[in-house]
Symmetry: C2
DNA sequence: GTCAAGATTTAGAATAATTCTAAATTGATT
DNA sequence: AATCAATTTAGAATTATTCTAAATCTTGAC
Protein backbone atom coordinates (compact mmCIF):
# COMPACT_ATOMS: atom_id res chain seq x y z
CA UNK A 1 0.00 0.00 0.00
CA UNK A 2 1.98 2.97 -1.24
CA UNK A 3 0.69 6.31 -0.10
CA UNK A 4 2.32 8.52 -2.72
CA UNK A 5 2.94 7.81 -6.33
CA UNK A 6 5.21 9.65 -8.76
CA UNK A 7 4.10 13.27 -8.63
CA UNK A 8 4.31 13.56 -12.40
CA UNK A 9 2.10 10.58 -13.01
CA UNK A 10 -0.47 11.94 -10.65
CA UNK A 11 -0.91 15.23 -12.47
CA UNK A 12 -1.11 13.23 -15.68
CA UNK A 13 -3.73 10.96 -14.26
CA UNK A 14 -5.81 13.79 -12.85
CA UNK A 15 -5.70 15.65 -16.14
CA UNK A 16 -6.85 12.58 -18.01
CA UNK A 17 -9.66 11.65 -15.68
CA UNK A 18 -10.99 15.19 -15.45
CA UNK A 19 -10.50 15.70 -19.16
CA UNK A 20 -12.61 12.67 -19.98
CA UNK A 21 -15.49 14.45 -18.24
CA UNK A 22 -14.78 17.74 -20.00
CA UNK A 23 -13.18 19.34 -16.97
CA UNK A 24 -9.81 20.94 -16.43
CA UNK A 25 -7.17 20.24 -13.85
CA UNK A 26 -6.76 23.42 -11.86
CA UNK A 27 -4.50 24.10 -8.88
CA UNK A 28 -7.55 24.13 -6.63
CA UNK A 29 -8.75 20.74 -7.83
CA UNK A 30 -5.26 19.37 -7.41
CA UNK A 31 -5.17 20.77 -3.89
CA UNK A 32 -8.55 19.36 -2.93
CA UNK A 33 -7.55 15.99 -4.30
CA UNK A 34 -4.31 16.12 -2.35
CA UNK A 35 -6.25 16.80 0.82
CA UNK A 36 -8.37 13.71 0.21
CA UNK A 37 -5.32 11.57 -0.47
CA UNK A 38 -3.34 12.89 2.42
CA UNK A 39 -5.61 11.82 5.25
CA UNK A 40 -8.13 9.19 4.34
CA UNK A 41 -10.61 9.79 7.08
CA UNK A 42 -13.68 10.56 4.96
CA UNK A 43 -13.70 14.28 5.67
CA UNK A 44 -16.72 16.49 5.15
CA UNK A 45 -16.60 19.32 2.62
CA UNK A 46 -16.07 21.71 5.50
CA UNK A 47 -13.10 19.66 6.72
CA UNK A 48 -11.63 19.61 3.25
CA UNK A 49 -12.08 23.36 3.09
CA UNK A 50 -10.23 23.86 6.38
CA UNK A 51 -7.37 21.59 5.33
CA UNK A 52 -7.07 23.00 1.82
CA UNK A 53 -6.99 26.52 3.23
CA UNK A 54 -3.73 25.77 5.01
CA UNK A 55 -1.87 25.28 1.75
CA UNK A 56 -3.99 27.67 -0.30
CA UNK A 57 -5.38 30.39 1.98
CA UNK A 58 -7.50 32.15 -0.62
CA UNK A 59 -9.50 29.09 -1.60
CA UNK A 60 -13.21 29.58 -1.11
CA UNK A 61 -16.00 27.49 0.17
CA UNK A 62 -17.82 27.33 -3.13
CA UNK A 63 -14.66 26.23 -4.87
CA UNK A 64 -14.21 23.31 -2.53
CA UNK A 65 -17.76 22.15 -3.26
CA UNK A 66 -17.11 22.66 -6.97
CA UNK A 67 -13.83 20.73 -6.82
CA UNK A 68 -15.38 17.86 -4.89
CA UNK A 69 -18.16 17.68 -7.47
CA UNK A 70 -15.59 17.66 -10.24
CA UNK A 71 -13.62 14.86 -8.60
CA UNK A 72 -16.73 12.79 -7.98
CA UNK A 73 -18.05 13.34 -11.52
CA UNK A 74 -14.79 12.25 -13.05
CA UNK A 75 -14.41 9.18 -10.90
CA UNK A 76 -11.54 10.39 -8.74
CA UNK A 77 -13.45 10.36 -5.50
CA UNK A 78 -16.57 8.94 -4.01
CA UNK A 79 -19.24 10.53 -1.97
CA UNK A 80 -20.06 8.38 0.99
CA UNK A 81 -23.72 9.35 1.20
CA UNK A 82 -26.20 8.43 -1.48
CA UNK A 83 -26.65 12.05 -2.43
CA UNK A 84 -26.25 15.46 -0.91
CA UNK A 85 -29.06 17.23 0.78
CA UNK A 86 -31.98 15.86 2.68
CA UNK A 87 -31.90 12.43 4.21
CA UNK A 88 -34.56 10.01 3.02
CA UNK A 89 -36.51 7.38 4.93
CA UNK A 90 -38.01 4.02 4.21
CA UNK A 91 -40.19 1.74 6.30
CA UNK A 92 -39.25 -1.44 4.48
CA UNK A 93 -37.23 -3.44 6.98
CA UNK A 94 -37.10 -6.55 4.85
CA UNK A 95 -33.61 -6.97 3.50
CA UNK A 96 -33.39 -4.96 0.31
CA UNK A 97 -31.17 -2.54 -1.49
CA UNK A 98 -31.72 0.88 -3.05
CA UNK A 99 -31.30 1.96 -6.62
CA UNK A 100 -30.54 5.64 -6.98
CA UNK A 101 -31.18 7.12 -10.39
CA UNK A 102 -28.49 9.69 -11.00
CA UNK A 103 -30.62 11.51 -13.55
CA UNK A 104 -33.94 12.00 -11.79
CA UNK A 105 -32.85 11.31 -8.21
CA UNK A 106 -35.58 8.78 -7.52
CA UNK A 107 -34.77 5.95 -5.17
CA UNK A 108 -36.21 2.50 -5.85
CA UNK A 109 -36.17 -0.56 -3.65
CA UNK A 110 -34.40 -3.52 -5.23
CA UNK A 111 -34.13 -7.15 -4.19
CA UNK A 112 -30.83 -8.41 -2.96
CA UNK A 113 -29.56 -11.87 -3.83
CA UNK A 114 -30.40 -14.59 -1.33
CA UNK A 115 -26.80 -15.40 -0.69
CA UNK A 116 -25.05 -12.44 0.79
CA UNK A 117 -21.40 -13.32 1.12
CA UNK A 118 -20.17 -12.29 4.48
CA UNK A 119 -18.00 -9.23 4.56
CA UNK A 120 -14.93 -9.43 6.73
CA UNK A 121 -15.06 -6.62 9.24
CA UNK A 122 -11.86 -5.77 11.11
CA UNK A 123 -11.11 -7.67 14.30
CA UNK A 124 -13.15 -6.49 17.26
CA UNK A 125 -15.76 -4.69 15.17
CA UNK A 126 -19.37 -5.67 15.71
CA UNK A 127 -21.62 -5.38 12.67
CA UNK A 128 -25.35 -5.24 12.99
CA UNK A 129 -26.65 -4.37 9.56
CA UNK A 130 -25.74 -3.05 6.18
CA UNK A 131 -27.01 -1.00 3.26
CA UNK A 132 -26.48 -1.53 -0.42
CA UNK A 133 -27.06 1.29 -2.87
CA UNK A 134 -26.78 0.87 -6.60
CA UNK A 135 -26.21 3.87 -8.80
CA UNK A 136 -27.27 4.24 -12.39
CA UNK A 137 -30.20 5.24 -14.55
CA UNK A 138 -33.77 4.11 -14.07
CA UNK A 139 -35.66 2.78 -17.07
CA UNK A 140 -37.26 6.11 -17.95
CA UNK A 141 -34.05 8.08 -17.77
CA UNK A 142 -32.06 5.40 -19.59
CA UNK A 143 -34.53 5.61 -22.47
CA UNK A 144 -34.27 9.39 -22.75
CA UNK A 145 -30.51 9.32 -23.19
CA UNK B 1 -47.14 -8.00 -0.73
CA UNK B 2 -49.85 -6.71 1.57
CA UNK B 3 -49.94 -3.01 2.09
CA UNK B 4 -51.99 -2.84 5.27
CA UNK B 5 -52.03 -5.24 8.12
CA UNK B 6 -54.58 -5.48 10.94
CA UNK B 7 -54.74 -2.08 12.58
CA UNK B 8 -54.70 -3.63 16.01
CA UNK B 9 -51.63 -5.68 15.39
CA UNK B 10 -49.87 -2.66 14.04
CA UNK B 11 -50.34 -0.56 17.16
CA UNK B 12 -49.27 -3.58 19.15
CA UNK B 13 -46.20 -4.03 17.03
CA UNK B 14 -45.24 -0.37 17.19
CA UNK B 15 -45.64 -0.32 20.94
CA UNK B 16 -43.43 -3.37 21.30
CA UNK B 17 -40.70 -2.22 18.97
CA UNK B 18 -40.58 1.25 20.45
CA UNK B 19 -40.85 -0.11 23.95
CA UNK B 20 -37.85 -2.35 23.43
CA UNK B 21 -35.83 0.82 22.88
CA UNK B 22 -37.35 2.56 25.89
CA UNK B 23 -39.63 4.76 23.81
CA UNK B 24 -43.39 5.25 23.83
CA UNK B 25 -45.89 5.00 21.08
CA UNK B 26 -47.44 8.42 20.71
CA UNK B 27 -50.07 9.59 18.21
CA UNK B 28 -47.38 11.60 16.42
CA UNK B 29 -45.07 8.59 16.05
CA UNK B 30 -48.01 6.53 14.82
CA UNK B 31 -48.84 9.25 12.30
CA UNK B 32 -45.29 9.58 11.03
CA UNK B 33 -45.06 5.84 10.67
CA UNK B 34 -48.35 5.77 8.77
CA UNK B 35 -47.01 8.38 6.39
CA UNK B 36 -44.00 6.21 5.68
CA UNK B 37 -46.15 3.14 5.11
CA UNK B 38 -48.70 4.92 2.99
CA UNK B 39 -46.46 6.02 0.13
CA UNK B 40 -43.18 4.23 -0.07
CA UNK B 41 -41.26 6.76 -2.09
CA UNK B 42 -38.43 7.42 0.33
CA UNK B 43 -39.62 10.85 1.40
CA UNK B 44 -37.40 13.41 3.07
CA UNK B 45 -38.16 14.60 6.60
CA UNK B 46 -39.68 17.73 5.09
CA UNK B 47 -41.97 15.61 2.89
CA UNK B 48 -43.03 13.53 5.86
CA UNK B 49 -43.75 16.74 7.72
CA UNK B 50 -45.97 18.03 4.91
CA UNK B 51 -47.87 14.76 4.63
CA UNK B 52 -48.28 14.27 8.36
CA UNK B 53 -49.55 17.82 8.70
CA UNK B 54 -52.58 16.94 6.60
CA UNK B 55 -53.90 14.49 9.15
CA UNK B 56 -52.44 16.24 12.17
CA UNK B 57 -52.19 19.96 11.48
CA UNK B 58 -50.46 20.96 14.70
CA UNK B 59 -47.57 18.58 14.34
CA UNK B 60 -44.25 20.40 14.35
CA UNK B 61 -41.08 20.12 12.43
CA UNK B 62 -39.01 19.10 15.40
CA UNK B 63 -41.49 16.37 16.27
CA UNK B 64 -41.21 14.85 12.84
CA UNK B 65 -37.45 14.68 13.22
CA UNK B 66 -37.89 13.25 16.68
CA UNK B 67 -40.37 10.65 15.46
CA UNK B 68 -38.19 9.62 12.55
CA UNK B 69 -35.29 9.20 14.92
CA UNK B 70 -37.45 7.12 17.22
CA UNK B 71 -38.58 4.88 14.37
CA UNK B 72 -35.06 4.42 13.09
CA UNK B 73 -33.66 3.73 16.53
CA UNK B 74 -36.27 1.10 17.21
CA UNK B 75 -35.86 -0.63 13.87
CA UNK B 76 -39.16 0.42 12.33
CA UNK B 77 -37.64 2.47 9.54
CA UNK B 78 -34.36 2.93 7.77
CA UNK B 79 -32.51 6.04 6.89
CA UNK B 80 -31.32 5.85 3.34
CA UNK B 81 -28.18 7.91 3.84
CA UNK B 82 -25.34 6.72 5.99
CA UNK B 83 -25.97 9.47 8.49
CA UNK B 84 -27.57 12.87 8.67
CA UNK B 85 -25.60 15.99 8.20
CA UNK B 86 -22.57 16.67 6.13
CA UNK B 87 -21.68 14.46 3.22
CA UNK B 88 -18.32 12.73 3.42
CA UNK B 89 -15.77 12.00 0.72
CA UNK B 90 -13.24 9.34 -0.01
CA UNK B 91 -10.58 9.08 -2.71
CA UNK B 92 -10.34 5.31 -2.64
CA UNK B 93 -11.78 4.16 -5.96
CA UNK B 94 -10.79 0.54 -5.47
CA UNK B 95 -13.87 -1.50 -4.76
CA UNK B 96 -14.49 -1.36 -1.04
CA UNK B 97 -17.24 -0.83 1.47
CA UNK B 98 -17.65 1.45 4.43
CA UNK B 99 -18.12 0.60 8.05
CA UNK B 100 -19.97 3.24 9.99
CA UNK B 101 -19.58 3.13 13.75
CA UNK B 102 -22.89 4.16 15.23
CA UNK B 103 -21.27 5.18 18.49
CA UNK B 104 -18.40 7.43 17.42
CA UNK B 105 -19.48 8.14 13.86
CA UNK B 106 -16.15 7.21 12.33
CA UNK B 107 -16.21 5.68 8.87
CA UNK B 108 -13.72 2.95 8.04
CA UNK B 109 -12.95 1.38 4.69
CA UNK B 110 -13.56 -2.37 4.61
CA UNK B 111 -12.75 -4.99 2.01
CA UNK B 112 -15.56 -6.54 0.07
CA UNK B 113 -15.59 -10.20 -0.87
CA UNK B 114 -14.12 -11.02 -4.25
CA UNK B 115 -17.30 -12.57 -5.50
CA UNK B 116 -20.03 -10.01 -5.58
CA UNK B 117 -23.25 -11.76 -6.52
CA UNK B 118 -24.98 -9.75 -9.16
CA UNK B 119 -28.01 -7.86 -7.99
CA UNK B 120 -31.04 -8.00 -10.23
CA UNK B 121 -32.02 -4.47 -11.17
CA UNK B 122 -35.45 -3.94 -12.71
CA UNK B 123 -35.81 -4.33 -16.48
CA UNK B 124 -34.50 -1.32 -18.38
CA UNK B 125 -32.47 0.04 -15.50
CA UNK B 126 -28.79 0.61 -16.15
CA UNK B 127 -26.50 0.18 -13.16
CA UNK B 128 -23.04 1.63 -13.09
CA UNK B 129 -21.81 1.20 -9.56
CA UNK B 130 -22.79 0.49 -6.01
CA UNK B 131 -22.00 1.25 -2.41
CA UNK B 132 -22.06 -1.02 0.58
CA UNK B 133 -22.20 0.40 4.07
CA UNK B 134 -22.07 -1.73 7.18
CA UNK B 135 -23.37 -0.40 10.45
CA UNK B 136 -22.21 -1.38 13.88
CA UNK B 137 -19.60 -0.62 16.48
CA UNK B 138 -15.90 -0.23 15.84
CA UNK B 139 -13.47 -2.12 18.06
CA UNK B 140 -12.94 0.77 20.47
CA UNK B 141 -16.61 1.48 20.95
CA UNK B 142 -17.52 -2.21 21.19
CA UNK B 143 -15.04 -2.57 24.04
CA UNK B 144 -16.47 0.37 25.97
CA UNK B 145 -19.95 -1.10 26.06
C1' DG C 1 0.83 37.64 -29.75
C1' DT C 2 -4.24 39.30 -29.21
C1' DC C 3 -8.90 38.64 -28.54
C1' DA C 4 -13.25 36.40 -27.68
C1' DA C 5 -15.64 32.55 -25.55
C1' DG C 6 -16.07 29.67 -22.06
C1' DA C 7 -14.60 27.67 -17.72
C1' DT C 8 -13.33 28.54 -13.09
C1' DT C 9 -12.77 31.03 -8.83
C1' DT C 10 -14.10 34.29 -5.40
C1' DA C 11 -16.83 36.53 -1.53
C1' DG C 12 -20.76 36.69 0.18
C1' DA C 13 -25.78 36.20 0.07
C1' DA C 14 -29.50 32.96 -0.05
C1' DT C 15 -31.61 28.75 0.79
C1' DA C 16 -32.27 24.30 2.77
C1' DA C 17 -31.60 20.86 6.34
C1' DT C 18 -31.08 19.89 10.91
C1' DT C 19 -30.60 20.75 15.76
C1' DC C 20 -31.47 23.29 19.86
C1' DT C 21 -34.17 25.71 23.51
C1' DA C 22 -37.46 26.64 26.83
C1' DA C 23 -42.02 26.35 27.97
C1' DA C 24 -46.25 23.64 27.77
C1' DT C 25 -48.42 19.13 27.67
C1' DT C 26 -48.97 14.36 28.41
C1' DG C 27 -48.82 10.01 30.78
C1' DA C 28 -47.53 7.00 34.18
C1' DT C 29 -46.66 6.55 39.10
C1' DT C 30 -47.09 7.55 43.74
C1' DA D 1 -53.90 15.30 43.45
C1' DA D 2 -48.62 15.81 43.20
C1' DT D 3 -44.56 14.37 40.94
C1' DC D 4 -41.36 12.91 37.52
C1' DA D 5 -39.87 11.91 33.09
C1' DA D 6 -40.91 11.79 28.30
C1' DT D 7 -42.72 14.24 24.59
C1' DT D 8 -44.39 18.03 21.83
C1' DT D 9 -44.47 22.70 20.33
C1' DA D 10 -42.97 27.19 18.09
C1' DG D 11 -39.49 29.36 16.82
C1' DA D 12 -34.60 30.58 17.03
C1' DA D 13 -30.03 28.99 15.93
C1' DT D 14 -26.84 26.44 13.55
C1' DT D 15 -25.01 23.86 9.85
C1' DA D 16 -24.78 22.34 5.06
C1' DT D 17 -25.28 23.43 0.51
C1' DT D 18 -26.30 26.20 -3.52
C1' DC D 19 -26.56 30.45 -5.94
C1' DT D 20 -24.99 34.98 -7.83
C1' DA D 21 -22.39 38.30 -10.08
C1' DA D 22 -18.04 39.99 -10.84
C1' DA D 23 -13.16 38.95 -11.52
C1' DT D 24 -9.69 35.85 -13.38
C1' DC D 25 -7.83 32.35 -16.09
C1' DT D 26 -7.42 29.14 -20.34
C1' DT D 27 -7.86 27.87 -24.77
C1' DG D 28 -8.26 28.27 -29.40
C1' DA D 29 -9.03 31.21 -33.54
C1' DC D 30 -7.13 34.52 -35.92
Amino acid sequence: MKQRSHPHDEGQHLTEQLGATGLRLTPQRQQVYDVLLHKRDHPTAEEVFIRAKKAMPEISHATVYNCLDALVKSGLARQVNVERGATRFCPNMIEHGHFHCSACGTIYDVDLPREIPCVAVPRGFRADGFDVTIHGLCADCAKKK
